[in-house]
């Protein structure tokens, strides 16, 4: 079985007792629990995992971790799985992705032969002629070359994802020695701590270290785990730092979801991500068998995998040197140990499926199957950049360092300098203490300023100054490129030669170079290639690295699934107290904003007819309802409505229209005066929230001296419109305490009474349908009783419930417009046909100057009722009104229906003022291209313009 598996290693993370079976490109393999997909396959002797994006070159293990650009595989229906970090699960079906026909033989590899013609941006320079071929051929071919795995959208679903919030005082990103030190010290200082480690275990680089490292690790981990103030999240990544320390943590392999997003508002963020080892640029540096020092150390020490048999090692630092020791311990022959600090170098690696020959800087060629590179680091400053820092390159240490961090973001560990493990822990501890003090100070302030919080006791936490001793910046040679050219961006197949060319073509700033060559734009996002790309540019332009800068790091630090970002999808739904009844009685649901409503119960035309002939009831609860109380309500109404409110007696109701400050119609509804200082305002369903906020705005910021209390009562009052010629007869059976006779309770009046035994119902005589109708507002806990009582008592009167669609028909017959349908974003009051309603002589009304200006104009469109000359033809809503046979637009149909009452089509429409006079002929362009004639009516109402029915 596993031919490359070594005997037991002291720090190994595999469980040799388990055997997990899985397949790779259809063939069976096994591994152990604790293996990654890559370690298991490497143990089984697999060298080639993928083909590169553009040239389809064979690729093998390079970093053996999450960032390995060569280890993207398909696992079942999941594309782009990182084989370098995804832990093996029994039964996994793993395959190479983006290869055709297969990994061994990929036709696309022919691109290597013509590679010299496919330099950066080649596609910008060709495929232009003939023009039609671009659309019909070239583009289709390019799209076939898109990299990546396959998403199985046909069968996949949005599964069980989840999120949560957290409020740690200190959040530590990175569980290496520095991060663990910081977490412990912060917790000791009294802070609540969240420690987040990307890998499945704490320890950082100590995990693949020597016995001393493992001992320190064990101590630190024990201290972390046992402190109650620290919440440890392993196999979790801090993916983003947003303004005010709003921090995204992606937790993988939580039992309830494959990925869970934690949104943390941290007092302080400690960034302790260590360093990322960077590749070295030379010809053949992407050949399978060329690995970074960290990769071989991890393979050997974590998974007991022998990475090769004969190795050439190029080292520029102690970690590279340590790799030599690990290789020897694993029985790997060291063919050549090259010291980059002494100028020793690798020029080229030859070999296709695996390293074969290695050409050295001194001209020798040696044979080997493994090349190990330990030439330096990229500082993962991503989270710091997101916090506003612009890290600065230090040529001495040959990497980027934090520069100016906000007080609530602190860096520690390898990202800030070098040190012994003890020094790293010590720096971490000092950082943790400082972070805790700052966070506790912040917590103190928050408690003082938060009404619900317990007032802070004890002294205000102090010592907010940074007195930490810095870690050393050990000199490191600036190794990035040998004398040959090679890959810089492995995910994007961008070579140093491409970068040089781009710079010479004018793409000579790092950002332009990025966009032209796509360097740093692949899944690696610069983690491996930033330093090398900047160095190539510096070399080409003969500039200092310091002046080149870097591309912008952006979230997420590690890619995160759309499922995890979405989490549970919360889409609040509002239901009236009657909605269950509607659904139980066959109502088809209509989603209107957040509300579900009954659209109809099967036959909207029959429902509408029944309202005209007998009696119908409709649930209009979503109507916005605001309870207004106080001595200054009248003033408020005068301000927000275009019409007058001063003379509204108690017991009366009035219709009002609102415009915004720009004169555009914004909402409408009726408001009734229930008591001397008590009113009930209704708004459109969709406008309810905005109108409430608008009233509060004017009351709080414009007229704070007015005494008005606004209370939203929309859901508390279930609104039932009882409409039709027999509705009074029905209500007489159920209403107590109100004289329903037409004289005692005329149109546009309001009463309070008991309906079906339910007291405190508000009843007003208004209606959208144009029929005799009462709108009953019932305390919602009793609404179902009232609704059912109405139905039971109205049976002999022919009662039927009706839905929103019938109401739309009925209101159109009556010519009532709907704000937002018959009006639009430019409709000013005169266009809506409000005419005399608007009072321009009020001292103050919203939008008053615009209203005055609008009334002075003669060119604004006007809303009119239109009937088609052919009564059978119902134009579609939004059909255009045009100028005869020409294409000039003179208006549009805003509402249209077949009227059951009139047996003909009826419309409302906005027309050019030249067409607004009653009797004007308009040309309506139908969707099928026909042009038909319609006639502008005298009144908006097609049915009962005199209002005989509603006033009955």
């Amino acid at each position: 079985m596993n031919p490359n598996r070594l005997p037991v290693r002291p720090g190994e993370v595999i469980d040799r007792e388990t055997s997990l079976a899985f397949t790779w490109n259809g063939r069976p393999h096994t591994g152990h629990r604790g293996d990654t997909i890559a370690s298991a396959l490497a143990a089984d002797g697999v060298d080639v995992f993928a083909r590169s994006m553009k040239y389809k070159r064979r690729r093998g293990i390079m970093t053996a971790d999450h960032w390995d650009p060569n280890l993207f595989v398909q696992v079942g229906d999941e594309p782009n799985v990182r084989a370098g970090s995804r832990r093996l699960v029994a039964g996994m079906e793993v395959s190479a992705q983006n290869v055709w026909p297969n990994l061994r033989f990929d036709i696309g590899a022919a691109n290597q032969l013509v590679g010299r013609f496919l330099s950066s941006g080649f596609y910008y320079k060709t495929f232009m002629r003939p023009k039609w071929l671009w659309h019909h051929l070239y583009q289709k071919v390019l799209r076939k070359f898109a990299p990546g795995g396959r998403i199985h959208w046909e069968t996949s679903t949005h599964g069980a994802y989840d999120k949560r919030y957290a409020h740690p005082d200190v959040l530590v990103a990175g569980g290496g020695p520095a991060g663990m030190g910081a977490a412990i010290a912060a917790a000791e200082a009294g802070a609540s701590v969240m420690l987040v480690e990307h890998e499945p275990d704490l320890g950082g680089h100590l995990r693949w270290g020597d016995a001393d490292d493992l001992a320190v690790l064990a101590d630190l981990a024990a201290a972390v785990e046992s402190h109650p103030g620290i919440e440890v999240l392993v196999d979790s990544t801090v993916t983003g730092r947003y303004d005010h320390n709003w921090i995204a943590v992606m937790q993988r392999s939580h039992e309830i979801a494959p990925e869970r997003l934690i949104k943390a508002r941290a007092g302080s963020l400690v960034v302790a991500p260590g360093l990322i080892e960077r590749p070295y640029v030379f010809a053949g540096n992407d050949t399978p068998g060329v690995m970074l020092s960290g990769a071989v150390r991890r393979l050997i020490n974590l998974w007991a995998v022998r990475p090769g048999t004969r190795a050439v090692v190029l080292s520029a630092n102690p970690e590279g040197d340590a790799a030599i020791a690990d290789l020897e311990a694993a029985g790997v022959e060291i063919v050549a140990a090259l010291d980059a600090r002494a100028g020793e170098d690798i020029v080229e690696v030859e070999g296709r499926g695996r390293v074969g020959n290695v050409v050295l800087g001194d001209g020798r060629t040696v044979s080997a199957d493994l090349v190990v590179i330990g030439t330096g680091w990229t500082a993962p400053t991503s989270l710091l950049n997101m916090a506003g820092d612009r890290p600065v390159y230090d040529p001495t240490a040959a990497r980027y360092f934090p520069n100016q961090l906000p007080d609530d973001v602190l860096a520690t560990g390898g990202i800030t300098g070098n040190g012994t493990t003890a020094e790293l822990v010590e720096h971490g501890r000092a950082t943790g203490t400082l972070a805790a003090n700052r966070a506790l100070r912040n917590r103190h302030d928050r408690r003082s300023s938060t009404a619900r919080a317990r007032s802070p006791e004890g002294p205000i936490p102090e010592s907010l100054h940074d007195t930490r001793a810095s870690l050393a910046r050990t000199p490191h040679p600036e190794c990035y490129r040998s004398s040959s050219h090679g890959m810089v961006d492995f995910s994007e197949d961008v070579s140093s030669k491409d970068l040089v060319q781009a710079s010479r073509e004018g793409f000579d700033s790092i950002e332009l170079m990025k966009r032209y060559t796509t360097v740093t734009m692949g899944p690696s996002q610069g983690k491996l290639e930033t330093v090398n790309a900047a160095a190539v540019l510096a070399e080409t332009r003969s500039m200092d690295m310091v002046d080149i800068g870097t591309t912008v790091w952006r979230p997420p630090f590690a890619p995160i699934s759309l499922g995890a970002l979405a989490g549970r999808i919360f889409e609040p739904i509002r239901r009236s107290a009657l909605q269950d009844w509607h659904e139980d009685h066959g109502a088809s649901p209509l989603l209107a904003g957040q509300w579900v409503r009954p659209d109809h119960y099967g036959d909207p035309v029959a429902e509408a007819r029944n309202v005209r002939e007998n009696v119908g009831i409709i649930d209009v609860t979503p109507l916005g309802k605001l309870d207004l109380r106080g001595p200054d309500v009248t003033k408020l109404l005068e301000l927000v409505y275009v019409n007058r409110w001063q003379k509204l007696d108690v017991g009366r109701v009035r219709y009002g229209t609102m415009v915004a400050e720009d004169g555009v119609v914004s909402d409408d509804g009726v408001t009734g005066r229930l008591g001397e200082d008590h009113y009930l305002m209704t708004t459109t369903s969709s406008g309810a929230g905005a109108i409430w906020e608008m009233l509060e705005d004017y009351l709080q910021t414009y007229r704070p001296d007015w005494n008005v209390h606004v209370t939203a009562v929309t859901g508390g009052l279930t609104s039932i419109n009882v409409a039709g010629p027999r509705c009074r007869e029905l209500l007489l059976r159920l209403v107590e305490g109100v004289d329903l006779s037409p004289d005692a309770f005329p149109y546009f009046h309001v009463r309070r009474g008991t309906v079906a035994g339910v007291p405190d119902c508000i009843i007003w005589r208004i209606g959208f349908t144009g029929e005799l109708s009462y709108e009953v507002h019932v305390p919602s806990g009793h609404a179902l009783h009232v609704w059912e009582s109405l139905l039971a008592n109205g049976e002999d009167l022919g009662i039927m419930p009706f839905g929103v669609e019938s109401q739309r028909i009925l209101r159109l017959e009556k010519g009532h417009y709907i704000v937002g349908q018959d009006t639009d974003g430019l409709t000013k009051a005169p266009s809506a046909g409000l005419g005399g309603l608007v009072k321009l002589d009020k001292p103050d009304t919203l939008g008053l100057p615009e209203l005055r200006a609008a009334y002075a104009r003669t060119d604004l469109p006007i809303l009119v009722a239109i009937q088609t000359d052919d009564p059978e033809v119902v134009p579609m809503e939004a059909d255009q009104i045009v100028d005869g046979d020409s294409n000039r637009i003179l208006g549009r149909i805003t509402s249209s229906r077949m009227s059951p009452t009139l047996g003909r089509s009826v419309c409302l429409g906005q027309v050019d003022p030249s067409l607004a006079a009653a009797g004007s002929k308009v040309t309506i362009l139908l969707i099928d291209g026909r042009r038909i004639l319609g006639t502008v009516q005298e009144h908006h109402a097609h049915v009962d313009p005199e209002g005989v029915r509603q006033n009955a």
Binding site: Y124, M128, Y242, S509, P559, A566, I569, L591, A878
Partner: protein, 429 residues
């Protein structure tokens, strides 16, 4: 095409491949002159297109395009590259349709493949009222000869099979406005194409040069700025440059520049965010936009899904992005395509948008002589870039507002004649 440019072709590609010879620079890094006939502030698409058309159509070549960063570093280099012309108002349709024409022949005109992918553009309707507005748009479009129609859910499914068109979702897809000529363009290539062509005609592109002030005389405000005055030049981080004409093409930063001339704008700056996923084999053929869900998505030729949304509610000049953008985005995309939950978001970014109250630009002459604006491009200025450049060039060369931009001049805010694109353009792609 440019007068003395180096011409790209398949033949050249082969020749360079064989000889491994260097390609010539696309544009130079010139030394600034002390005066130009026109100084254009902003080296984005609009500034560069204006410069190109001034030089190409009007023979004015003593022009500088000044940018504080790199070419295309503003909205032009970070937009989701959607182009279309199915606007709601006749004036909008006419304007954007001209732009689409220019895009259509751009690769040949500029001799750079901008990879215009006319893949079709779908705007989904989830409500009756959205369907009605779409029908409205389709009818207006048809009257102006634009290919645009409302299609039913089955047809939607044909155009974009990964969409869930079943009726029982929270936001059922009731239909869509389908606009076959719409699509996406390689946004960077458009910037580079104009830059290269303008450079060949002699235009100076001054990168990493920040405008700190606009120099004026005779105006009613302090330092001779404001109404009634005239422009004399600009002060930059690399010294003063005199010019009788200064053009503001700075999009998200437009207010800052305009305030320097004493011309306040009806603009607030809001970030607009976007994101890409890791690449994945191509499965989404069209551009899909959902106004109700505030999201739009297309798949590039490289296999990434590119997402956008509506502008952030909190106005700011900070472009570091927010987490809630990606959360909302993912939630909404998955409502439309539940099958892609395993795709991973690779990068999010943000750019500044100069939002006007009526979702339409502010263009043309101003109350300060020689100071021109081409701003207010909000979330839709990429598709307008070519026509804006063409019409602004005409306006600057003639001193009169070009016909196509008459509805968009700043005077509409004093006259109260706003443009009616707001409803249709709220998620303006």
């Amino acid at each position: 095409m440019a007068r003395h440019g180096y011409k790209y072709s398949a033949g050249k590609l082969i020749r360079h491949g064989l000889t491994r010879g260097d390609w010539p620079r696309m544009w130079r890094r010139p030394e600034a002159r002390s005066s130009y006939d026109v100084v254009i502030i902003g080296g984005g698409l609009h500034g560069l297109a204006t410069a190109y058309y001034l030089a190409h159509n009007h023979g004015m070549t003593n022009i500088a395009v000044v940018d504080k960063g790199y070419l295309g570093g503003g909205g032009s280099g970070r937009n989701t590259a959607i182009v279309r012309s199915n606007y709601l108002t006749p004036e909008g349709v006419a304007f954007y349709d001209r732009s689409l024409d220019l895009y259509n022949s751009m690769a040949q005109d500029l001799n750079l493949n901008v990879m215009f992918s006319r893949r079709g553009h779908l705007t989904l309707a989830h409500t009756d009222s959205a369907l009605r507005t779409m029908h409205w748009r389709a009818e207006v479009n048809k009257l102006q000869g634009i290919d645009s129609s409302v299609i039913d859910p089955q047809e939607v499914k044909k155009q974009a099979p990964s969409l869930d068109v079943s009726a029982d979702t929270r936001y059922p897809i009731l239909g869509a406005l389908f606009h076959p000529p719409g699509g996406i363009v390689r946004h960077d290539a458009v910037v580079w194409g104009y830059a290269r062509a303008a450079d060949h005609l002699g235009v100076h592109m001054l990168q990493e040069t920040e405008v700190l002030d606009i120099l004026c005389e005779g105006g009613e405000g302090p330092d001779g700025k404001g109404a009634g005055g005239r422009v004399t030049g600009v002060r930059t981080s690399r010294g003063d440059i005199s010019a009788p004409a200064v053009v503001n093409c700075t999009a998200g930063w437009a207010s800052l520049i305009s305030n320097m001339a004493g011309v306040p704008l009806p603009i607030t700056t809001h970030p607009l965010q976007a994101a890409v996923t890791e690449p994945c084999k191509v499965f989404l053929p069209t551009v899909v936009v959902s106004g109700s869900l505030h999201v739009y998505v297309s798949q590039t030729d490289r296999g990434e899904l590119v997402f956008g949304a509506s502008v952030d509610p909190v106005g700011t000049y900070r472009v570091n992005g927010t987490l809630e953008f990606t959360e909302e985005l993912a939630g909404h995309v998955l409502e439309l395509m539940p099958g892609i939950s395993k795709m991973r978001l690779l990068r999010q970014w943000s750019g500044l948008c100069d939002m006007t109250p009526d979702y339409s630009p502010v263009m043309g002459t101003t109350q300060v002589d020689g100071y021109f604006v081409d701003v207010g491009w909000g979330t839709y200025g990429f598709k307008a870039g070519p026509v804006a450049g063409e019409t602004m060039a005409e306006t600057i060369a003639t001193g009169r507002d070009a016909d196509l931009i008459a509805p968009f001049t700043i005077s509409r805010f004093t006259e109260g004649d706003l443009v009616g694109e707001k409803g249709a353009a709220a998620v303006g792609h």
